[in-house]
Symmetry: C2
Subunit: 354 residues, 2 copies
Amino acid sequence: MKDLLTGPSGLGTSAARLGRPEAVTLPPEPGYAERPWGDGTAPPLYVPVLEREDALLAAAVDERLVAWAGECGFEEPERFLGGMFGRLAVLTHVDTDDVDQLLIAARLNAAWWAADDLYADDTEMGAVPTELPPRLALAMAAMDPVAPAAEFTVDLEERIASDPVLAGLRSGIAHLTSRSTATVVQRVCYSTFAMFVSWGAYAAWRHTGNYPPAWQYLATRQHDTFYTSMTLIDAVGGYELPAPLYYDPRVRQLLTAAGTASVMVNDLVSVEKDAADEQPVCNMVLQIAADRECSIAEATARTVELHNQLVRDFEAGHKALLAVPSVELHRFLKGTKAWMGGGFEWHTTHPRYK
Amino acid sequence: MKDLLTGPSGLGTSAARLGRPEAVTLPPEPGYAERPWGDGTAPPLYVPVLEREDALLAAAVDERLVAWAGECGFEEPERFLGGMFGRLAVLTHVDTDDVDQLLIAARLNAAWWAADDLYADDTEMGAVPTELPPRLALAMAAMDPVAPAAEFTVDLEERIASDPVLAGLRSGIAHLTSRSTATVVQRVCYSTFAMFVSWGAYAAWRHTGNYPPAWQYLATRQHDTFYTSMTLIDAVGGYELPAPLYYDPRVRQLLTAAGTASVMVNDLVSVEKDAADEQPVCNMVLQIAADRECSIAEATARTVELHNQLVRDFEAGHKALLAVPSVELHRFLKGTKAWMGGGFEWHTTHPRYK
């Protein structure tokens, strides 16, 4: 009976022809699962299930990405990129298999990571805490051009062209601009600049050696999350979530929950690497362990619990917002959920975080 | 004849009743003028003429502002505010005489200046370069709440409530939120965070003593201008310039020209104060003089020329954008012009810059 009602020649089609709603069997919505991670000793992470893995598509994106990185002036782009960002784009943006669309995410994520590694995090790669803030100001100028100012703008343009990180950020934004709207472009730039403020705080802590309590680290970290990567969800998907919905406080709270949850996964899988640095990198697990004078295992359990609560908050809020009659909003939230699932997969399988 | 055509009982009214366009004599649009400033020895500044001065209205705003600053926890709020921000709001936002609307601008400008003085600029008032970035990250958290995170959010809220700068920023945004949209609120927050990135760069330069060339200072300064104050123009006026127009690259270029021009006035009138600081404050005139090994007078003349060009660029772009059929855009650009005129008046008459 079900087949009859929903088959292409069944009663459903007549109903559709008559303008009545057709009964359709949608594939079940991919759900959430508790997934083990690391060496399996910590509590599992509650995350959306992975929706796509496609090594061939990732390789196609990476091939284009390597060529692009060379054009931006990065030396040894293959080693530098390490096959990270094609796969990240394919795992997290599951509603397109168009390589040019996926390159929006691959290029900007590569450029953000490059800025983070070369400017902020990695002493061996040239990062110097006191030089970070002026570099980040130039990164703003590269991404978000303002009114021209005669000979001063000429000097600025020369600098941007000669610095691969700046050239990469500019080119990544240019690709986005060619496939989205000015409102989305500014959203992406501004979310990046909020991240930069947080990077400045981390650099100051490492420079002075005065590390923050966990609450202060988390408040800072919450403006430096995968929320920024998620600003690209509609652009990569080829649509736009209009600003009044995107910035609706209910939506923003959900998106920041998703961004923070995903970045807690990053902290969880980076504990050993961060603790081993001669100038330790701030990390939620390490800050909790320091505050509470507890073991790494206990601090890890608390961080997992926080992560899982954020994901459950997202899940509940997502359900509630389906009442808002907007195709774009429904698609963006579905995309956010998929991003979290792909982000977990990427973090827990990539050699960088082993 | 002109009177007959345009008077309330003349032919124009009949034409209007018949649905035909009415001939009206609008008051001439206030224009631009070359105005002397400082001791009068430097070239004049080309600026929009002042549209309103109203000491009684400014006093009414200041009275409410002082009470508010006390509630935020500022000590000696009258001395701290010094009658600056009521007058600034009245001079720059000329399309309303509603005190509650003007308080949107007065409160947020007071809070921004407080953050700048107490966190960033004034060593005597507690500013420490290495503490600036973590404080700015908390300022983001105060203005732009994200997903709640259990006990960590409780600690954050305690800190925000106990720091007058953070409480002031939060309260200023709350007042804006009660009278505008989520899209405008996020625009204001994000423009503030871009400013914070630039403040981090200034702090790093003062900390290391390695001052930047003029082009690099200007590139940094262009994301820390009165553009941020101008994000409030429509909110104070009681309307909204929708995001697709607000972020249109042509509009953004004009608004950043206006913001940069207005902040060059700030640099011009602050040269002596900035040069006298034991850790000199970056200033366009000082950076040009250092680059070119020229006199302050010559560097001043170049800065005036840059300012005047930016204002002329705004004037031409404003005229061109009148072709876009949007009442909100026309009003916003008119408001931006008025802001520049008021900003010049404020900077060239206020004791802070004497």
